[in-house]
Symmetry: C2
Subunit: 280 residues, 2 copies
């Protein structure tokens, strides 16, 4: 094992501690606790776990949470109406719709029902465009968390070749746009990419965001590459074959303990940002 | 010279003829002529020429135009107010703000004052996100025109490596997103990219959108590459060194006569789309 670890746990704890201080200051100044509304549709146990984890962390940070749970057979209209209500509710400062939603729902329509000022998970079209254009705004939580991790570990991005594997609207696409805004040369790779291993071998920074266990292999990596594993598959396994990759990479995120805590920390930080903007 | 030319002229003329038929049908059905408002700020002669050209083509297509010309010292607030008026005017179906605007103006704020339903030049954040997410919506005129040209010339995009040189919000960035939606592997290159020639040599499709005359050289190209020149520099010169590149490429756009006519054709087509949606 040659790679150093990029660990998110301590850094995330610091971020959450700072958010907690700011939440306390808001409470003292306005008598209002920042509040994150979580919306969970259906009974996927993993999603339920994620939401519970986010609520627990919120509580520790002095952020209140409003929990909305809707049945698996919820329609798009019902979900949109519920999210609109939260968007209009002055007691709610941030809204998180847990991804994925059941297949009959138009997830984009649901995301777009989130007031842009409460989009603390960075999922709306406006938030995406702001990330792409380098404008201020809420970052998608996982890509934004990844950027904070790369900054904390002083990973040079300017002129570096970053290969993002995966192109989902809330993970791969915004991750690439944020890297581009940091002046990396960015390649989007995906299921139709030809000779993915050869392409990945040209990368200084690899972002794995495919949702397939142990997908990225050690011999796909350039020696000394920086590897960020945004995957989280059954059995606590990432998208990168960790044992192989850590023989070749210079820096690598473990799963769990790498990207995951940063995602939640950024969500909470952005919830406090939203509350400050709405109360101030 | 080995490359075949990808010529936009005839294809654009066909698109405009179809748009003209649809404009005529709208006139007959509703007694209303589709109307494109053009907004020109300042006295840059090239911008004035572009706007005039777009108005002339509109006229030939049976699309009315409303011309707004504002002085070079216009403020952001003044421009935003003018564009808001056009956004609210039921007689205006599409709005084009000629890029670039004078330096003191916040161009993004001006673009965002365009009603999304009238954004026929595809410059708003919502239009950008729709392109990125593969949703229906107005395409940025030049990238959208490039895609139509690539389709017309049967350029295979799925799995192809497309290198986009340039990352502006209305050209390079949306071009990359549209290529990604067509399942190309997409690399964004720019001024900070290291060893650009070597990177470009890995491209099956090259989109040059840098605004530097003769910037992309022949020996940067993979033999058989498809080269799209979206540049238009002083003296009718593109971003690609045409003589060198046409010795190596399989297909290449001439400047002028390649991308330019497609840009205007898409603008007119989208103006009729907008009028249909607003009148229907």
């Amino acid at each position: 094992m040659t790679a150093d670890l990029m660990i998110g746990t301590d850094l995330a704890a610091e971020m959450v501690a700072k958010a907690a201080e700011r939440a306390k200051a808001l409470q003292e100044k306005y008598g209002v606790q920042p509040c994150l509304a979580t919306v969970l549709v259906g009974d996927d146990p993993a999603s339920a776990t994620y939401v519970r984890m986010k609520q627990n962390r919120s509580k520790k940070a002095g952020i209140g949470s409003r929990s909305v749970v809707m049945p698996a057979e919820t329609t798009t209209d019902e979900l949109v109406a519920e999210i609109r209500k939260l968007s209009e509710d002055p007691e709610v400062h941030g809204i998180l719709l847990q991804h994925p939603v059941p297949a009959q729902i138009d997830e984009r329509a649901a995301f777009e029902a989130i007031d842009p000022g409460k989009d603390v998970d960075g999922v709306t079209m406006l938030s995406f465009a702001a990330m792409a254009f380098g404008d201020p705004g809420f970052r998608s939580a996982t890509p934004g968390g990844i950027m904070r991790l790369l900054e904390a570990y002083d990973v040079p991005l300017e002129g570096a070749h970053a290969v993002v594997i995966g192109r989902s609207p809330i993970l791969g696409k915004p991750a690439g746009m944020l890297l581009l805004a940091s002046n990396a040369t960015v390649t989007y790779a995906h299921s139709r990419t030809r000779d993915l291993p050869e392409l990945v071998r040209t990368a200084d920074v690899v972002i794995a965001a495919v949702g397939k266990a142990n997908f990225v292999r050690g011999d796909w990596l350039k020696p000394g590459a920086v590897v960020v594993d945004a995957g989280y598959n059954e059995g606590n396994v990432g998208d990168v074959h960790f044992e192989e990759a850590s023989q070749v990479a210079r820096l690598i995120t473990p799963v769990p303990g790498g990207v995951g805590p940063m995602t939640i920390a950024l969500l909470l930080e952005q919830t406090v940002d939203a509350a400050e903007a709405q109360l101030g």
